[in-house]
């Protein structure tokens, strides 16, 4: 699935990293616990979260992810977007809540992917 398709499915706005929207991604994860993302996630390219701090972006960078989706109509500050831009991440904002956003993507074939250690 492309990031563009994700934006479409979630009726999301592209906040930055427009140039990356045609990239193909194979799996995603949704979490508000960054340590869990760092512990269990392998090769997931998309992070859906309800948190808005810079550590969300840095966590995605650490995991070599390509896209962050802020759910529940949350829009991060300009500092967070500037950080995302400097790291070449695409950032989306969707009005959907976490459960619904994840469900919509899963339904269309974007799976959770492998967990580390499995």
């Amino acid at each position: 699935m492309t990031i563009r398709k994700i934006a479409e499915l979630l009726d999301a706005e592209v906040l930055c990293g427009e140039e990356g929207v045609d990239r193909e991604v194979k799996s995603a994860c949704g979490s508000d616990m960054m340590s869990d993302v760092l512990a269990f996630v392998k090769d997931q390219a998309v992070l859906l979260t309800g948190l808005l701090n810079p550590q969300v972006i840095r966590t995605a960078v650490m995991m070599d992810m390509q896209c962050v989706v802020f759910v529940r109509a949350k829009v991060p500050g300009e500092d967070v977007l500037a950080l995302a831009r400097s790291c070449h991440l695409t950032v989306l904002a969707s009005k959907e809540r976490m459960y619904t956003a994840c469900g919509k993507l899963y339904e269309q074939g974007l799976k959770g992917g492998e967990l580390i250690g499995d």
């Binding site: 960054m34 550590q55 840095r58 500092d79």
Partner: protein
């Protein structure tokens, strides 16, 4: 690509949480330019990130020294925080003394030290109550953990 040795030094401020992780992002950028395997870079970056966050939330900041060699990345995190009373307990997955405001920021799940151990090939903790903590981690370029 030949990897030239490199020494990196970062001051990690404990003043606010906003900057927590900056040093790890900067280190990751350096490692990427040097031509390490992506798995090696990711392991080193995550291990350092968790350690950096720990210095910010538990020790009011510290310093990170990174020694990059062709076959390994050595990371030393030094702080003058409160120290760790029981290292074995601190190493257990889920053990955390982090306050709720930290949990609301996405950390404090008690997975930091276990993650650091898991992603590094070697990890040593020296700590003294009231004096501070030094965490030494080595990430090898050639490691079975690269297939994580």
């Amino acid at each position: 690509m030949e990897i030239k040795p490199l020494v990196l030094h970062y001051e990690v401020s404990g003043d606010n949480f906003t900057g927590a992780g900056e040093a790890s992002v900067a280190m990751k950028r350096e490692l990427r330019q040097m031509g390490f395997d992506a798995n090696v870079i990711r392991r080193a970056a995550i291990a350092m990130y968790e350690g950096e966050i720990n210095m910010v939330i538990h020790a009011e900041g510290g310093v990170a020294d990174v020694n990059v060699l062709p076959d390994r990345i050595e990371i030393v995190l030094t702080d003058e925080g409160p120290g760790i009373a029981d290292v074995e307990q601190a190493m257990q997955a889920g053990f955390s003394t982090a306050p709720d405001n930290i949990r609301a920021l996405g950390f404090g799940a008690g997975m930091g030290l276990p993650n650091m151990k898991r992603y590094s090939d070697e990890m040593k903790i020296e700590t003294e109550i009231g004096r501070g903590t030094t965490v030494r981690m080595t990430v090898l370029a050639d490691s079975p953990k690269n297939s994580f």
